[in-house]
Amino acid sequence: MKYEPVIGLEVHVELATESKIFCGCPVVDSVEAEPNIAVCPVCSAMPGTLPVVNERAVEYAMRVGMALGCKIEPVSIFARKNYFYPDLPKGYQISQFEEPLATNGEMLIETEDGEKVIRVLRAHLEEDAGKLTHVEGASLVDLNRAGVPLLEIVSQPDMHSAAEARAYAENLREILRYLGVNSGDMEKGVIRFEANTSVRPVGTEKLGIRTEVKNLNSFRSMEDAINCEIARQSKVLDEGGEVDQVTMGWDEEKGQTYVMRGKEDAHDYRYFPEPDLPPLKVDDAWRKRVRADLPELPRAKFERFLADFKLSEYDAKVLVSDRAIAEYFEETVNNGAKPKAVANWMTGELFALMNQTEVSIDEIKVTPKALAELISLVSEGKINKNTAKEVLGEIFKSGKNPQAIVEKKGLAQVSDTALISGFVSSVINAHPDEVTSYRSGKTGVANWLFGQVMREARGRANPQILREELMKQLDG
């Protein structure tokens, strides 16, 4: 039988605040920092300590909620989710349960069949747990991550293929990075997925029994795990069986999902309202303030780039894929360069240099102003395109001003007609056979001669003047 997959995603997003969500500890790099370097009595759950909500974390969550078109609830409630584990110091996680901060949003994704709306059920704040490392005969607890703010974004089961789920996830990552609330650094686990997958016979409405795959840390493993579940569940149904409602893990090496626990072993988290935190209230003024600071989002920027700069869809898409790149582009345009030329230089030479050296747009030494200057040197005919590439390479290395490089290295394009005429004369004198050949009708030889003159001029001759002088002497 043919089955239609039904997929919902839960995305856990670390919010890139400076301090943890309920204490003053700094948020440190989860990979590089020394274990337990960012720990205090509150996040290690010493008796008598109390949580206090980091307003910055709330604002970051509000940004995401707003970007997804969610309602920001005027009152939301923190709750205690109770379970024992050594990486959970209090023995409960503070999370939002029945009354989350943001509800009912949506996101537009592109699919093979065109654009599609994925509904977002809710987004709620919670704290991360610490990290356990198992060594020979012991387990080590690192609480650096305990209390790092997390936003859990829950979609409706509106996706029908792993590719759609991936598009949703990638889109979400782009938005998060735009909002400045998450680095998008997947290797560091700052975004983690849980995929809920079920299948049903094509054409039917009733949802099948779903499984939940936890701890998916990359787009790839998420996509693979969903595909694996679709295939597995379809096979179970084809064989006349029933899908079990289970919580699963993902074995990266085997490329397989495996059962972590069944329905009967489901945790009873005994949620109840967190008595240490009053209801979280967001008034109109606060909401307005956060909304006012919201950056333009990728989709809106894309449309504006098409309309204002007459870019191709391809260029616009590439340029808005990263907020810093889009801002770099606009700043370069604001420095007087033509949008189309900026797009070409960026997506061509500049990105190539960045790829070769593995540096990001934030780190490069070429300022938007320098790139704009370089582009105008070309358009004003002061240097030609090949020279410009060379100069860009130089700016990329040294960060020096393009004009200065051109002057210092004597790279300026030669537009002196008399000088160019001299180069032409010496080439013509040196190659009598080719000249004869041209004059006998093999006009194609002119291009070869053009190249010889340019070589003589060490590539710096103004090509237009060169061509004119060459034709004048050949035809004259």
């Binding site: 206090v52 109770n82 005994r270 240490d276 935190l277 009053p278």
Partner: protein, 481 residues
């Protein structure tokens, strides 16, 4: 006058005048502790060196508390002193910080002499649940001092300190104050920061003060109040607190007497003494108004469900992973089971089980949810009552201090001791306990005055006038005379 008979103001006066040094004052109390502690067992930790050093360095002429000794209930954190909360599971634990309320007192120059005994994690009404032995009532060593702040109450009653801090989740300041014949305040919820108070029932816990008189409570209370950035549930005090219209009498003051608090089952002498005190109020000019708090009888089940539910989560951190003892075992589950099974006492385990059950899937609505509804009704009872009266007068507890072991194997009968004190915690309103007489066995009787939120100052005014006209608060057990 001798030190033992001086009020805090009197002590401050003799320190300020240079008549006495604060080291001498501290030495005096340390000697009293040395003399009586074997009988009373009020303290879990006494730090003479720390106290004398603090007394020696106290330099705060403008503070009314400068150089005055105090004892701290062991559920409160003091940097440099162990904190056990009366539990084996915290034996040897040294907190790395000081509770906000205690810090404010230290900043005001108070001298901490030690930590007092408590029922384990403040769960109990007698200190019999302490893992470190019961505290004895200074009025009769065969009897309990009440609880859970029994160590603090006994220490004050025995003259071992002039004032002490306690905590009150369901009566744990007021009931021991009553049993020991002293005064005690359970403030409005949130008025004093809970930061540094080992949590029992977070939505009910208040830090309170125990002293011989209301006048002695006031400066300590005033020093601790206010919003604390470390406690999100703490609140700023009103700029103009409610006071009596007339500082000299109770004219114009309406005092409510709820019928639900004068019912069968209360010791006859207790009800009699409280009624007499109410007659005193009338003589002082108060209007006495019969009122009803109709949901009082549901306070006990609601309280034991809510407090236990919160406690079941609050005590989850004592898992043997990060601090103090860990019982060795092969699996993680066994580490938890062994550590918590061996090191928690019976009453604590009972309440953790009760609370866990009340929050479980399928039972939540019937227990936790229902108890929250009752809590709302009880709160409304008080709101209604305070539209008619300024304060409510009741007994603190149905009986005077009972004999050690009296409730032995029947925890439920002990829970009933809290019936008159629980409602104030559920409603978040303040309650003041005042000594108002003695029973036939010469055990003290306490009266409770409850007020609307933030009306502590008004309750203090009433209490001060009462104590000006009566002398119950001046009575001392033999060992302290």
């Amino acid at each position: 006058m001798k030190i033992k008979d001086l009020s805090l103001a009197g002590l401050k006066e003799s320190l300020s005048s240079g008549e006495m040094k604060s080291t001498e004052l501290t030495r005096f109390y340390l000697d009293c502790i040395g003399e009586r502690e074997t009988d009373v067992n009020a303290f879990l930790h006494i730090d003479e060196k720390y106290a004398l050093a603090k007394a020696n360095s106290a330099n705060c002429p403008n503070s009314p508390l400068c150089g005055i000794p105090i004892a701290i209930k062991d559920v409160l954190m003091v940097d440099g002193m162990p904190a056990t909360a009366g539990s084996k599971i915290l034996e040897g634990y040294m907190p790395p910080f000081t509770a906000t309320a205690v810090k404010k007192l230290e900043d005001a120059g108070m001298v901490i002499v030690g930590k007092t005994n408590t029922d384990e994690f403040a769960m109990g009404s007698s200190t019999e649940n302490s893992a470190y032995g019961v505290t004895h009532n200074p009025w009769n060593l065969d009897r309990v001092p009440g609880g859970s702040s029994g160590g603090s109450a006994a220490a004050v009653a025995a003259g071992m300190v002039p004032v002490a801090l306690g905590s009150d989740t369901g009566g744990s300041v007021r009931q021991p104050a009553s049993y020991c014949g002293i005064s005690g305040i359970k403030p409005t919820y949130g008025r004093i920061s809970r930061y540094g108070l080992s949590a029992y029932g977070s939505s009910l816990d208040s830090i309170g003060v125990l002293a011989r008189s209301v006048a002695d409570i006031i400066p300590v209370f005033k020093t601790m109040v206010g919003k604390d950035p470390l406690d999100a549930t703490s609140v700023e005090s009103p700029t103009t607190p409610r006071r009596l219209p007339d500082a000299e009498s109770l004219k114009g003051t309406r005092i409510g007497v709820p019928k639900e608090y004068f019912v069968e089952g209360t010791q006859v002498e207790v009800a009699g003494a409280v009624r007499e005190a109410i007659q005193e109020f009338k003589k002082m000019g108060a209007e006495i108004i019969p009122i009803s708090l109709p949901h009082t009888e549901y306070a006990i089940p609601a309280y034991y469900i809510l407090a236990s539910a919160e406690a079941s989560a609050n005590l989850a951190r004592f898992d043997g992973i990060r601090y103090t003892q860990r019982e060795g075992a092969d699996t993680l589950a066994e580490v938890y089971n062994q550590t918590r099974g061996k090191l928690f006492g019976e009453e604590v385990k009972r309440r953790i089980m009760l609370g866990t059950y009340a929050l479980s899937a399928g039972y939540y609505d019937a227990f936790y949810g229902q108890a929250q509804k009752v809590r709302t009704l009880i709160r409304r009872d008080f709101e209604d009552a305070f539209t008619k009266v300024d304060a409510i007068a009741t007994p603190v507890a149905p009986t005077t201090a009972f004999k050690i072991g009296a409730h032995g194997d029947d925890p439920l009968s002990m829970y009933l001791e809290d019936i008159f004190t629980l409602p104030a915690n559920l409603a978040g309103v303040p309650g003041l306990a005042l000594p108002v007489g003695f029973d036939d066995a010469n055990m003290p009787i306490g009266m409770q005055l409850m007020g609307t939120r933030f009306s502590e100052e008004l309750l203090f005014d009433i209490g001060k006038i009462y104590q000006r006209e009566t002398s119950w608060h001046e009575m001392k057990p033999k060992m302290a005379r």
